[in-house]
C-alpha cells in the first residue's frame, strides 16, 4: 500500500520550464495591456512554484514600480539580482529601484559594474544600453 504523500511532496512535482515560460508570457502581455493585477498574481504564483525563476521577480519589481510601492519593487529586484548578478535586466531593475528607495550606494556599484560589461562588449542589447544611460544620468543628477 502506498504511503500518502505530504502536500509539500506533491508540490515538488513542479511545472516544466516550457509551462513556466508560457505562463510568464501571459504575465508579460498583461503588463503591456495594463492588466497589472493579473500580471502580479501570475508572477507571485511563478516565484512561489520556482523561487529561482528570475523573470517572475522582474515582473513583481515592475508591478511594484507601477504601484509606487518602491520597497516592494526594490526587494523583488534584489531577489532577481541575487540569482543573476550579471543579467542585464536584473542589473537595470536593481539600479532603477535602488534609486527609487535612495540606495545610492547600491545603484552606483551596479552602474559601475554594468558600465564595464558594456565597454567590454558583453552587453549589446540596445534597449538595455539605452536604459543604462538613462539611469546613469539620473544617478549623476542625484549625486551632483
Amino acid at each position: 500500500m502506498n504511503r500518502p504523500r505530504s502536500p509539500s511532496e506533491l508540490l515538488r512535482r513542479g511545472y516544466s520550464d516550457e509551462e513556466l515560460h508560457h505562463l510568464y508570457a501571459l504575465a508579460r502581455i498583461s503588463l503591456e495591456a495594463g492588466e497589472i493585477k493579473r500580471a502580479e498574481l501570475i508572477a507571485q504564483g511563478l516565484v512561489e512554484i520556482n523561487p529561482t525563476f528570475i523573470p517572475g521577480w522582474l515582473i513583481l519589481s515592475y508591478v511594484g514600480i507601477w504601484n509606487r510601492d518602491h520597497e516592494h519593487a526594490a526587494n523583488s529586484a534584489r531577489q532577481a539580482f541575487r540569482l543573476a548578478s550579471r543579467d542585464p535586466a536584473s542589473m537595470l531593475y536593481l539600479i532603477g529601484t535602488s534609486l527609487l528607495v535612495s540606495d545610492i550606494q547600491d545603484a552606483g556599484t551596479v552602474l559601475g559594474e554594468m558600465g564595464e560589461l558594456i565597454e567590454a562588449g558583453r552587453i549589446q542589447d540596445q534597449d538595455c544600453i539605452r536604459l543604462y544611460r538613462m539611469l546613469l544620468a539620473r544617478f549623476q543628477t542625484r549625486t551632483r
Partner: protein
C-alpha cells in the same frame, strides 16, 4: 530611414523597464494546456483544504499557485467555480 509621424512609439519609448523584460514563452500555447491547468487548479484547491493552519509556508505557496491558476483559467475563459 525617417520614421513616419504616425507610427506608434516603440516599447522602449512607452516604458523602458518593460522593454528590457525577457521575452519568453508563447501565450498561444496556453489553450493547449487548458486541461492540465484546470486539473492543477482542482488539485491545489483540494490540497489547500488538507493543510493544517500551522503550515503557513505551504498555505502561502498553495494560495499563490491557486490565484495564479485562477487568473490564467479566467483569461482562457474556463469557468472556475468557488
Amino acid at each position: 530611414m525617417k520614421r513616419s509621424a504616425v507610427s506608434p512609439p516603440d516599447d522602449f519609448s512607452n516604458s523602458p523597464f518593460f522593454a528590457v523584460l525577457p521575452v519568453l514563452g508563447d501565450t498561444t500555447k496556453l489553450p493547449t494546456l487548458k486541461t492540465s491547468l484546470f486539473a492543477r487548479f482542482e488539485n491545489v484547491t483540494t490540497l489547500k483544504k488538507s493543510v493544517g493552519p500551522e503550515d503557513r509556508a505551504t498555505i502561502k505557496k498553495l494560495q499563490a499557485e491557486e490565484s495564479m491558476l485562477r487568473s490564467v483559467l479566467e483569461w482562457l475563459k474556463v469557468r472556475v467555480d468557488e
